[in-house]
Symmetry: C2
Subunit: 438 residues, 2 copies
Amino acid sequence: MDPGAEITVYQEEPEPSISECGLPYLLSGVVEERDDLVARTPEKFAEKGVEVRVRHRVERIDPENKRLCVRSLEDDGTFEDSYDRLIVATGARAVLPPIEGADLDGVFVLRFLADSDAVRRYIAEHSPERAVVVGGGYIGLEVAENLSRLGMEVSLIEAEDRVALAFGPEVSERVEDHVEKKGVRVYTGAEVEELVGDERVQGVRFGGCEIPADLVVLGLGIKPVVELAAEAGMEIGEETGAILVDKHMRTSLHDVWAAGDCVETINLVSGKPAWVPLGDTANQMGRVAGTNAATGEDTLEFPGVLGTGIFKVFDLGVGKTGLSESEAQDASFETISAAIEATDRANYYPGVEKVFLKLIADAATGRLIGAEAAGSGADKLTDICATAVWGKLAYADLVNLDLAYAPPYGPAISPVIQAATVLSGEFDRARRGVRASE
Amino acid sequence: MDPGAEITVYQEEPEPSISECGLPYLLSGVVEERDDLVARTPEKFAEKGVEVRVRHRVERIDPENKRLCVRSLEDDGTFEDSYDRLIVATGARAVLPPIEGADLDGVFVLRFLADSDAVRRYIAEHSPERAVVVGGGYIGLEVAENLSRLGMEVSLIEAEDRVALAFGPEVSERVEDHVEKKGVRVYTGAEVEELVGDERVQGVRFGGCEIPADLVVLGLGIKPVVELAAEAGMEIGEETGAILVDKHMRTSLHDVWAAGDCVETINLVSGKPAWVPLGDTANQMGRVAGTNAATGEDTLEFPGVLGTGIFKVFDLGVGKTGLSESEAQDASFETISAAIEATDRANYYPGVEKVFLKLIADAATGRLIGAEAAGSGADKLTDICATAVWGKLAYADLVNLDLAYAPPYGPAISPVIQAATVLSGEFDRARRGVRASE
């Protein structure tokens, strides 16, 4: 935006721009080269006139005087720097639960490239045969898959009564069935009490039983890194614990913007504060914050998110947009939903596979407020629905939606249209129900 | 809708409900069983209380007296029937050009299951080695692929200067390159003058040259079958030649609805009459016409189409929604467009492939009015864009769209968002251009 700007990036980790979403795949070798996950090196940034100083931690922001206190992690020395405009992009860190034994050798989180290096080194050194993954969210599931690919016997432990809690129970059930078919043992409703071992981890204790483990990966979620921002006086969201920004990504401090996993945004469906730490969203926010910081004006807006997300576990794609039924109820929606099993292509076309789709609509307006898909082509269905939610389409729009049909790409009636047609019937039924009781 | 209704279907062809889109794949054996393309047999319809009388041609409609004259093609006898409500779904037939030699043995169109049977029989009997496909639309391309799969040397002849004319030139070029790499010889700007041969076709003459051919398939498009409707007094669209219906699929005659490839609809982007003979659209129209005929009320609406379509030729998926640039210009839009090459997944994820995406926006409003995609995941990108066009989204919406990202399913920034970001830059440039000239 401003080729004359002098731009400095301080960053604690040794790589400035990595694809964290690729880390699980690096464990198994699905992604072969560590460097493939480094999107851009400091040298590449330098070519664009951006100075990236890795292994440097900003320890204090003085917004009054627009100064920073920076520590070099190489020589442990500190120095001061100043700014005209500042962007905070401190990201998120893994949640470490207060579980006894979490500090044993062989217990890992997977957040940065260094974590993945450590797990790989440990695997190379100790050839673990039995792995336990704690946490049934998408990271936990992806890690379970990739450890399983290495030939390990993998158990997945989830404290709640089902995995993939962001989804409805139909999807959770499909995920559990699928990973169990692939050989992963799933324990739900199982709160981990202790990681057992002397120096190295040897087992995991939960619900009165203990299972052996040579390797444990904790996938218990992440939380925004906001200490630096909070100490500098930036307002922090009460519900999310992430930095508050307006739609121009401005923080509460003058000439300070923030973007990425450290900030709070809004869920456009519920209208509620949301903290959605995802790579694509962070990227979009970064573009807005960077542009506005460069111009010094409110040039671009980031309106908020829908809560769209997707993951793959073994051969199952699982995607979501908007609100699940329980999230919708929490946001005071009355919902009407429809769930179908469809196919990913014409039923006579080779390779045809099944896909599950659930649509969730606002009973008052008919508007689509959420969708969940699991199976082949779940990514396409999720994205169609995300665009429909963004465009505020109602079930009646979806019934007539003009999507692309050819036998290799879908059934003649898209699963979205099929599900919308069922939904339409549910609305009719609800209306008749209302009439009958009048 | 009305379980008590007495429903009779008259149909000339021997199968009542076939997937015409699957016919090219039946030629090569990609679809193995002929019966796989029969969606529902008369027996299946009978179970639902629908009497399907195949090999019967309705020869006259008398709308005054609500009577039909029907000819049985089995015994050539005629009889009368009557209706309370009538639905016309006469479909479309292949265009047969006035080319000399089009009646030779070994020259085919591919419209009905019987056509595909005839081609397969001919191939089995005569083992043709050199095939010529006339017409570079999607049917011609699909047929070329499937004949090529049988080991034939295939040439494709197109009268215009490029194939896939519904798309912009960038896509046409990609399609031509791809099929030529797969061994299909493509001749463009080549008007066929004569099919040469004694009894059986032996060659095709065009532009002063002649190429040998043991088999010729004419893929020169289809046209609506409207004679019956026109004779009965139904209004026919001037531009399209298809039956005029309102958005409830009512024709100009009382108690007569029409649906499918025989009717005209509206292109929701251009606002102009459109004739889009596609299986999914026909299906959606049929639901509206059938429901309204059953209730006798204007229960459902079919608002119109976007012009969405997709085809696959060899390994290349090619999809489109809305208007191409030249279609937009014909509809008096001033356009701003952006075209990108992106990937179908994270660039480090195994199997990554390229995809081309072009977005076309209305210069006046910024609204997306068309999109074209070619490559891996073209179906997903087309459907996202179709939903965006349906929802009247502008490029600024697309830049912030919350789509589903995980490494196996796309790059961190969806190609749609990448292209919208480029489009955004084009709009900025256009605005600055305006300012500079003020």
